[in-house]
């Protein structure tokens, strides 16, 4: 059952992406992108990332796609013929993309995700290949849930055991905790980044006032 649903979402995602890339009409491409984003949200749910799936729908479908559609509507001239690309650049792009795909496939299927390793007692066990190297702290495979809970407890008091319903709460609770503990600095930095990009976008996109408009503004103030 899991597999069937996965393949359905995968087909929606990839089909939408193909239409996005190859559709002649840019509006069709934008609508095909909608299906791709929905499919990706479904894939996120398949991989136990429910909070991210909702975020994906809100930000991509509700925000970025609408923004792209605005861009399409504001820039496309109705009735103009789409400039066809020379076949040379088409072939070059196609060969590059297919070559890249081949390299990626070779990397995926040529690399074993796990390998057996003997521990100190001489028992062989399956370990992740990249985990046998010293893991960088930001990629901590087992983020210390107990330590995080301890910090939260000393700061905000003990959580109400009846209200915290572990297991059914999904990933949102853990992500919220991580945002205010281990990932506090990136969280703040990205808040500043999004504020700067917002102000920057309005500054870039706003109309330069004409001299007459400036004179009117002067006389009013």
């Amino acid at each position: 059952m899991f597999d069937i649903i996965f393949y359905i979402f995968g087909a929606i995602t990839i089909g939408g992406a193909f239409v996005t890339v190859f559709a002649k009409d840019i509006v069709y491409a934008a609508f095909a992108l909608l299906f791709t984003f929905f499919g990706i949200a479904g894939l996120f749910v398949m991989a136990n990332a429910d909070f991210l799936a909702v975020t994906q729908l809100l930000v991509y479908v509700g925000g970025i796609l609408i923004l792209l559609l605005f861009g399409v509507m504001l820039t496309s001239r109705i009735g103009t013929v789409d400039i066809r690309v020379s076949s040379g650049s088409k072939w070059a792009a196609g060969i590059l993309a297919i070559g890249l795909f081949g390299i990626l496939m070779a990397a995926f299927f040529g690399t074993a995700a796990t390998h057996t390793e003997k521990d100190k007692a001489g028992k062989s066990k399956e370990v992740f290949s990249w985990a046998s190297h010293s893991t960088p702290p930001w990629m901590n495979s087992q983020w210390n849930k107990n330590a995080t809970d301890e910090v939260l407890k000393t700061k905000f008091g003990a959580p109400d055991e009846k209200k915290t319903n572990e297991g059914s709460s999904g990933t949102a609770v853990e992500i919220g905790k991580l945002f205010l503990t281990d990932f506090l600095l990136p969280f703040e930095v990205i808040s500043v980044l999004i504020l700067v990009s917002l102000i920057g976008a309005t500054m870039i996109a706003r109309k330069e006032p004409t001299p007459e408009e400036e004179a009117i503004a002067e006389s009013v103030s």
Binding site: I26, T36, Q56, I64, F101, T202
Partner: protein, 102 residues
């Protein structure tokens, strides 16, 4: 064949390659931006796949959230730039946009 890490990675790779192709092939800045979004989504799928199957756990989802936020900021700024380009050049073909000033 049960669905595992490689299935997610293959879907991510296909999206990534299609995004690269769109960036190189399309002759409309908006379509190029769509390619960029596809690439960012491909990266997100990889993050989520490794967070589920690769022992990275919830940290992978955190990285994906940051990618989504940066994609939102990128889309806003890029659209503003595209509107300005259209205003100045009356075209959204990236090969025709070849000067920074009038």
């Amino acid at each position: 064949m049960t669905v595992g890490l490689n299935h997610f990675l293959v879907i991510g790779a296909i999206l990534f390659v299609l995004g690269i192709f769109a960036m190189l092939y399309r002759r409309n800045v908006i379509a190029v931006l769509m390619g960029v979004e596809l690439i960012l989504n491909a990266a997100n799928i990889n993050f989520i796949a490794f967070s589920r199957y690769g022992g990275v756990n919830i940290s992978g989802q955190m990285a994906a959230i940051f990618v989504i936020v940066i994609a939102a900021g990128e889309a806003a700024v890029a659209l503003a730039i595209v509107l300005n380009i259209y205003k100045n050049f009356k075209s959204v073909n990236p090969s025709e946009v070849d000067s920074l000033r009038d």
